[in-house]
Symmetry: C2
Subunit: 97 residues, 2 copies
């Protein structure tokens, strides 16, 4: 199992319609791409960093993860929305020990 996470902040104002639209459209684009399990949208609440949100999802194996990465809906979402609306981000991927 690979758990793919990304913690990020948006360029949009807190609570704005643009923020809500980004989260809604991200879920629509990504959550049912084949191989995606346990898709979660999260609010980052620690005061020890200044990221605002997170996504988390799990894949059965590396092949499923790569299938997600090259899926047309993922590629389009990254190009059309992520690269334009995300201020900063950090990807962190985990496997159980």
């Amino acid at each position: 199992m690979i758990r793919h996470t990304v913690v990020f902040s948006l360029k949009h104002a807190h609570g704005s319609l643009q923020e809500k639209a980004f989260m809604r459209d991200a879920k629509l684009a990504l959550h049912d791409i084949p191989g995606v399990k346990k898709f979660e949208q999260l609010r980052q609440v620690s005061k020890k960093n200044d990221f605002e949100f997170g996504f988390s999802m799990e894949f059965a194996d590396q092949a499923a993860y790569e299938g997600y990465n090259r899926h047309p809906r993922h590629i389009a979402f990254v190009k059309d929305r992520w690269e334009r609306e995300v201020e900063k981000f950090l990807e962190i991927d985990y496997q159980p020990i």
Copy 2:
């Protein structure tokens, strides 16, 4: 629900006995502190950052999280092991949206 995560790297060599001992002792010290649920030890596998490991745990609410933070076994582990053996870390906490 609050998911508390920390991604980190150790000062120890990869695969060393010291590394194994740190992970073993962390689990022993932390996993059954009251309020801790879904305690996980993880290997960080993304090439887009250079952290090596992660811990993840969940708390029912802020009170349970604070109980963990001030538990003597947590405080002792941070002082005696974490501060001495961890090279760098980032805490990220999430709540479901």
